[in-house]
């Protein structure tokens, strides 16, 4: 897989989707026959409040090119604050990735309500585009660090300074 180039590969994306909103939105997108990248593997979770940083790390460790958590719109969490907790956790994971040597853009948090099928499609497209821009996860391909001071030394960072993570 080492010869996989940026941009022309089919990324593997793991999505942790809340049962009450985003998972339903993904379902709805299917029912509506909306077209979107087949790159995403959805994991159903009872609430994004169930998420833990380690789950995001493990997904990347096992080869995912990008991971995201998708929860309810602000104020709509079935368990009141689960989505806020998950959203607050993600910046910490981004920081860990920077320290590890991975691009923090590989993880993200989104709000997608049950009725927002189109939004779900956009989110998957966004993460797929990001993964294509970043290239395959170096943990999978055996590459060196792609972020931080070591990245430049090893030449792992090819397209200049990274865009700062968006939320």
């Amino acid at each position: 897989m080492n010869d996989v180039k940026k941009g022309d590969f089919e990324p593997k994306i793991v999505a942790f989707a809340c049962e009450y909103c985003s998972y339903t939105a993904a379902d709805l997108a299917g029912s509506m026959r909306l077209q979107y990248p087949a790159s995403v593997r959805i994991i159903l979770i009872p609430c994004t409040g169930r998420m833990d940083a380690i789950m995001l790390l493990k997904a990347l460790d096992e080869g995912a090119d990008a991971v995201f958590v998708s929860g309810c719109q602000p104020g709509d969490c079935h368990f009141l604050r689960g989505n806020y907790r998950a959203k607050a956790m993600v910046p910490g994971v981004k920081k860990m990735l920077e320290e590890i040597g991975l691009d923090p853009d590989r993880v993200e948090f989104f709000h997608v309500a049950a009725s927002e099928a189109q939004r779900w499609v956009e989110v998957v497209e966004e993460m797929t585009a990001r993964a294509r821009r970043l290239g395959p996860n170096p943990l999978r391909t055996g590459g060196g660090p792609e972020y931080g001071p070591l990245a430049e030394k090893k030449g792992g960072k090819e397209d200049g300074p990274r865009r700062q993570a968006s939320a």
Binding site: L57, M96, E99, G144, P145
Partner: protein, 222 residues
């Protein structure tokens, strides 16, 4: 409890220099409660180390274990099999646990993964504050239950300095003036009179200044 925070990954990696077999050892007491070095954080650090190692072509084999407490021999002994054969143990305990681990598994190389910050209370989710400096001569009875040693930036014993303004300390607007708190509490308790007494220079012998401290209780030794 003892409050600590995880060191940056890079610093931990640097301290592993030359090690191949590594144990990440957590502590299930204070540092677990403040989410710096418990079982969950052990999993996280181990995962971070494995990923970083892969990217850096470092050959390390990381394993995980957590003891209920690293400051008690009985609990440390439960890690015997995990420690065996390792080049380095990364202790995620406070500074006490790191040292006690090293002593109990001599000559094992033990390195810290946590900075031990202070003795504090958990004010809110994810928020802690220093409340005690373990000075060895508690004055709380006379200060309305607010410690001037730990919570006044100058450890003053006879009232607020000139820098107390609107309940805040001169060092920064986020820090409460301990003497304002003491004054308010003593006023509410109807004990302001106590604050008019001059408190003489205290002995710091019971504090760290008297050298490393030791407590022996004969009644418990039998």
């Amino acid at each position: 409890m003892i409050v600590g925070e995880r060191k940056p990954l890079e610093e931990i990696i640097e301290s592993l220099e030359g090690a191949e077999k590594v144990l990440v050892a957590g502590c299930g007491t204070c540092v677990a409660i403040c989410m710096a070095g418990g079982e969950k954080e052990v999993g996280m650090l181990a995962s971070e180390l494995k990923m970083a190692a892969k990217l850096r072509d470092m050959k390390i084999e990381v394993s995980e274990a957590t003891a209920q407490r690293q400051c008690d021999k009985e609990y440390l002994d439960t890690l015997k099999d995990d420690v065996k054969g390792k080049d380095v143990v990364i202790s995620m305990a406070c500074g006490i646990g790191v040292q006690y681990m090293a002593l109990n598994y001599e000559p094992m190389r033990v390195v810290p993964a946590v900075n031990t910050d202070f003795l504090g209370a958990n004010l809110d989710v994810g928020e802690w504050a220093e409340y005690c400096q373990s000075c060895g001569d508690c004055v709380l009875a006379d200060t309305g239950g607010v410690c001037p040693i730990a919570r006044c930036s100058k450890s003053l014993l006879n009232g607020p300095c000139g820098g107390s303004a609107d309940g805040k300390c001169e060092i920064d607007p986020e820090t409460e003036c301990a003497w304002q708190l003491i004054y308010d509490r003593m006023k509410a308790l109807g004990r302001l009179e106590k604050l008019t007494e001059i408190r003489p220079p205290r002995s710091w012998k019971t504090s760290r200044d008297g050298g490393p401290r030791r407590l022996v209780r004969e009644d418990q030794k039998a």
